[in-house]
C-alpha cells in the first residue's frame, strides 16, 4: 500500500509580471501512516502552496509530490478521485443553504439524488449543523459559513482530505465539532492533511506534525518527538515584573514588561524557585508545548506575551 503523502525536493516559484517569488524552496518529507498530519508554519511559509500542488492545482517547478503513490502531475486525473479540499479563506454561495451546498456538491460529483440526499443529511448531522442547514448562507455567521465549506469537503468519499486552515474564525465549540468530525474520519481509516495556525488544534488532533519556514520543510515528528528535540524540557512562566538577567543562567529567557518565560530543564526548576524572590503563586511550571517547539524552530523573532 503506497504511503499517504510524499514530497521530495519540491520547489514552487510564482512568476508575475517579471517578478518571481519562491513560495516553496525545498519540501522533503513523507507522511507514512494514515491519520492526521498537521503542517505548521508562519504566514507565507508555503503551506497553502503545498496544498495547491498536492491537490493538482499548481504544477511544481522541481521535485515531486505523490499522494497514495499517485504523482500530482502525471497521475492527476486518478488523483482527483482520491482527494477532497477545503481551500484557505473559501466561502459558501450566499444564496444557497448549507444543505444545498452539500447536496449539490454530491450531485456535481456524479451521485444520484438519493445518494446526495443521504450523504448531505449524514454530514450535516456529523457536524451538528441541523439548526441552520436550511438557512441561506448570507444570513449565517462566519463560523457557520466556514462549517459549510468543511461539510462540503467531508461529504466526498476521499482517501485524503486537505483542509487548509479549516477552523479559522470558528469559536471553540464549533472548532470542537470540526475536531470530532476529523477524529471520526481518522478512526474510519482516512487521512487528513491539515494546515492551521492554532497550535493547540495541531497538538490535539495530529498523529504527526510538520513544521515549515520560509519555503523550507524544517522538521517532522509526533508531538513528543518534537518536544524531545528541544534543548529544554520545562517551561517556567512568571507573571509580573522580574529581572530577566536573574534567570539567564538556567536557560533561554523571554522577558516582557508583564511576564517572563524561562525555557529550562527539570533539574533547574528547584533552583529557580529557591533563588527567585518571586511569590510562588505567580509562577507556572509545565513541560514545553508545541508552541515552544514552534517558536524555537521558526519564530526566533516572535515576541512571547504571557497575557
Amino acid at each position: 500500500m503506497p504511503i499517504p503523502l510524499e514530497s521530495n525536493s519540491l520547489k514552487k516559484i510564482y512568476r508575475n509580471k517579471g517578478r518571481t517569488t519562491t513560495a516553496i524552496n525545498n519540501f522533503t518529507f513523507s507522511v507514512k501512516d494514515k491519520g492526521v498530519f498537521s503542517l505548521l508554519g508562519r504566514n507565507g511559509s508555503g503551506k497553502t502552496t503545498f496544498v495547491k500542488v498536492s491537490t493538482t492545482q499548481l504544477t511544481p517547478d522541481d521535485g515531486y509530490v505523490r499522494v497514495f503513490g499517485k504523482d500530482v502531475v502525471n497521475d492527476e486525473k486518478e488523483l482527483r478521485h482520491m482527494i477532497s479540499l477545503v481551500p484557505q479563506e473559501s466561502r459558501p454561495f450566499p444564496h444557497m443553504t448549507p444543505y444545498e451546498h452539500v447536496y449539490l456538491f454530491q450531485k456535481m460529483n456524479g451521485k444520484t439524488r438519493e445518494e446526495s440526499k443521504d450523504r448531505a443529511e449524514s454530514v450535516i448531522g456529523l457536524l451538528g449543523m441541523e439548526d441552520f442547514a436550511k438557512v441561506e448562507c448570507v444570513n449565517l455567521s462566519g463560523g457557520q459559513k466556514q462549517l459549510t465549506m468543511v461539510a462540503m469537503a467531508l461529504s466526498l468519499d476521499a482517501q485524503i482530505y486537505f483542509l487548509d486552515e479549516p477552523t479559522i474564525g470558528l469559536d471553540i465549540i464549533t472548532r470542537k465539532r470540526v475536531w470530532n468530525a476529523i477524529n471520526k474520519y481518522r478512526n474510519a481509516g482516512k487521512s487528513i492533511f491539515l494546515t492551521t495556525h492554532y497550535l493547540d488544534e495541531a497538538a490535539i488532533l495530529s498523529d504527526e506534525i510538520g513544521i515549515v519556514s520560509h519555503g523550507n520543510f524544517i522538521k517532522q515528528g509526533t508531538l513528543d518527538e518534537l518536544r524531545s528535540g528541544l534543548e529544554y524540557d520545562t517551561r517556567v512562566a512568571i507573571r509580573g515584573r522580574t529581572d530577566a538577567k536573574d534567570f539567564e543562567q538556567y536557560g533561554r529567557v523571554y522577558s516582557h514588561e508583564r511576564s517572563t518565560v524561562i525555557f529550562t530543564n527539570q533539574e533547574n526548576v528547584e533552583k529557580i524557585l529557591s533563588d527567585s524572590s518571586v511569590r510562588k503563586e505567580r509562577i507556572e511550571i509545565g513541560p514545553v508545548g508545541l508552541d515552544d517547539v514552534f517558536i524555537s524552530l521558526v519564530g526566533e523573532d516572535i515576541e512571547v506575551d504571557e497575557n
Binding site: K52, Q57, L58, V86, E89, S90, H95, N109, T112, L156
Partner: protein
C-alpha cells in the same frame, strides 16, 4: 458516465440558475431590460415595421449579454468563494463546469428569449425549420461567448478588473456589431473589424434565416461554425483553469 455528466451539469445549472432565480427573481429584470429598452426605442423611432429587426437584435443581444455576464460569476466563484479550487481538485472537467454554469445563466434569459421569439415568429411567419435554425444560431452564440467568458475569468487575477472588461466586451460584442442595423452602413475599416466579431456572423445568420434568403445562409453558417470551433480550441489552449500552472 453520461448520467454522471448529466448530474454534474444539472447541479451546476441549479446552483447558478434556478436557485438564485427562485430566491432573487429581480435579477430577471436586469438581464432582459436592455434589449427590451432597445426594442422600445426602435419601435418609437422606426415604427411598427422595425419591430422584427428589433426583436432579432433583442434575442441576439440577450444571449450575448447573458453569456458575457457569465465572466463576472465565474470570477466571483474563483476569487471570492474559491469554489473553482474546490472543483479543480475533483474529476469535474472545466468545460463541463462552464457548460453547467452557463446553462444556469441562460435560465434567467428564458422569459425574454421566449417573448422575442414570439415576436419574431408572429412578425415573420417563419416555419419550424427556420425556428430551429434560429435556436441553433443562438446556441452557437451562447457557446462562443460563454467560452470567451471562461477564458477571461481564468486569466483575470482581481475582481475589480472584471468590471471594465465586462463593459468593454458588452460594447464590442453586443453594441458595435450590426445587430440592430445593416453591416453596410459601417465605414470601411469598422466594417472589416466587424467581420472578425462573431456577433456579426450571428446577426447575418439570423437576419438571413428570418428576413432575407434562408437558402443563402450556408456561407455565414459555415463561417460562424468555424469561428465557434476556433474559440473552443483557443479557450482550451489558453485558459488557465488551474491557477498559475507554469
Amino acid at each position: 458516465m453520461i448520467r454522471e455528466l448529466y448530474r454534474t451539469i444539472t447541479s451546476l445549472t441549479e446552483l447558478n440558475g434556478f436557485i438564485p432565480l427562485w430566491r432573487r427573481p429581480i435579477a430577471l429584470v436586469a438581464v432582459i431590460s436592455t434589449p427590451f429598452s432597445f426594442l422600445f426605442f426602435i419601435y418609437l423611432f422606426g415604427g411598427p415595421s422595425k419591430i422584427l429587426i428589433g426583436a432579432i437584435g433583442g434575442i441576439l443581444f440577450t444571449i450575448v449579454n447573458a453569456s458575457t455576464m457569465l465572466q463576472t460569476d465565474l470570477l466571483f466563484y474563483k476569487l471570492d468563494l474559491k469554489f473553482q479550487q474546490v472543483v479543480a481538485s475533483t474529476p469535474i472537467n472545466p468545460l463541463i463546469y462552464v457548460f453547467g454554469l452557463a446553462t444556469g445563466n441562460i435560465v434567467f434569459t428564458l422569459p425574454g428569449l421566449a417573448i422575442f421569439m414570439g415576436i419574431i415568429v408572429y412578425e415573420s411567419h417563419i416555419g419550424v425549420l427556420q425556428i430551429l435554425s434560429v435556436i441553433g444560431t443562438l446556441i452557437m452564440t451562447w457557446v462562443i461567448f460563454s467560452m470567451f467568458s471562461f477564458l477571461v475569468s481564468t486569466r483575470v487575477r482581481e475582481m475589480r478588473d472584471i468590471w471594465p472588461i465586462s463593459v468593454m466586451f458588452s460594447i464590442i460584442f453586443g453594441v458595435v456589431p450590426p445587430i440592430y442595423y445593416s453591416i453596410s452602413v459601417l465605414p470601411a475599416p469598422v466594417e472589416y473589424f466587424a467581420y472578425i466579431v462573431p456577433t456579426t456572423w450571428a446577426a447575418i445568420l439570423l437576419k438571413g434565416i428570418v428576413i432575407h434568403d434562408f437558402a443563402g445562409v450556408a456561407l455565414p453558417a459555415l463561417v460562424f461554425l468555424v469561428e465557434m470551433f476556433c474559440v473552443l480550441g483557443f479557450t482550451s489552449q489558453f485558459s488557465d483553469w488551474r491557477h498559475n500552472r507554469s
